[in-house]
Symmetry: C2
Subunit: 203 residues, 2 copies
Amino acid sequence: MSKGQLVVISGPSGCGKDTIISKVLEKMKNEAFLSISMTTRAMRPGDTDGVDYYFVDVKQFEKNIADDKMLEYAKYGANYYGTPLEPVEKMLEDGKTVILNIEVQGGANIRRLIPEAVEIFVLPPSLEVLEKRLRSRGTDSEESILTRLEIAKNEIKVASEYDYIVVNDELEKAVEDIMSIIRANQLCTNKMKNLICEVICNA
Amino acid sequence: MSKGQLVVISGPSGCGKDTIISKVLEKMKNEAFLSISMTTRAMRPGDTDGVDYYFVDVKQFEKNIADDKMLEYAKYGANYYGTPLEPVEKMLEDGKTVILNIEVQGGANIRRLIPEAVEIFVLPPSLEVLEKRLRSRGTDSEESILTRLEIAKNEIKVASEYDYIVVNDELEKAVEDIMSIIRANQLCTNKMKNLICEVICNA
């Protein structure tokens, strides 16, 4: 069986990528899996270890780095965030699609380390829509919303370094777009070369 | 509006690409169009000028070549076959997807002339299946079937020069695969760069 596909999905907070990803995982059940990140940040109410993140302390995280057990990692403020290598490797060996829902810094790391990864940036239709979505959550302070918008602008500036751009205007359409990208990349000739041989050789 | 997309589809006789293409055109009505080739071969019963091909004489075809009116052309035996430039250019300018249903030699020409074209090779599941399909038509002599199979083998050998391979095992799946490839290529970052700017600039 051909090796699986590593798919990076990034996008600013409020662009709807978490919802898109969970819909994609639902539609590609048994075929696509989400990589669970590891972090040293404190657990918050509602967090589940091994579901939202693997929560570890700094000592453990740094030991993982030293032992080459992280595919990539970055430090945001005082906290480490990263992708544990082993589960990703195992799923790819099994021919599965592995989705990494990571920040643009993680995306840049993966691009450098694994050029054959497929990188998708989810764009909101406009910054006005993004602002509206952030406000409609009703959970963030004015200051936090403005900070998020400023971060979003900077993230969107690096969107052009991704392979694909999906605009989340309509949820269902964005989900279909991501699935089209994943499918198209499975059909790339370099992944299908064995097949050409099989067809000819079985003659 | 962004310029349209040029899609080359090739595959051996009997692989089912004509059926796949007509299904894709049906599903992408007003969005995707088939380029009609020009040929100097004689019309056969059932041929309609301007539908199956544009039928012209050698003098006219060679004048078109001299006047740079052919996007690409090739000679098979005594006959010219080629793609008239103007309708393709016009449809691409209108942002449409233009499908070229052409032989591998035409595919190689397009690859050289227009590297950004998306090239898809349709593969039968196996040569046995291809042979069965050719025989089930009941229209070809034994000799003609064996010749077609020999040509098919040689065509499949160059499949790896295409960007994507679609196996026509189940018709509906092959149609979906081709549409996924077309959609994914519309989402490629270099085609979406204006959008990134729009989102940021409208802020």
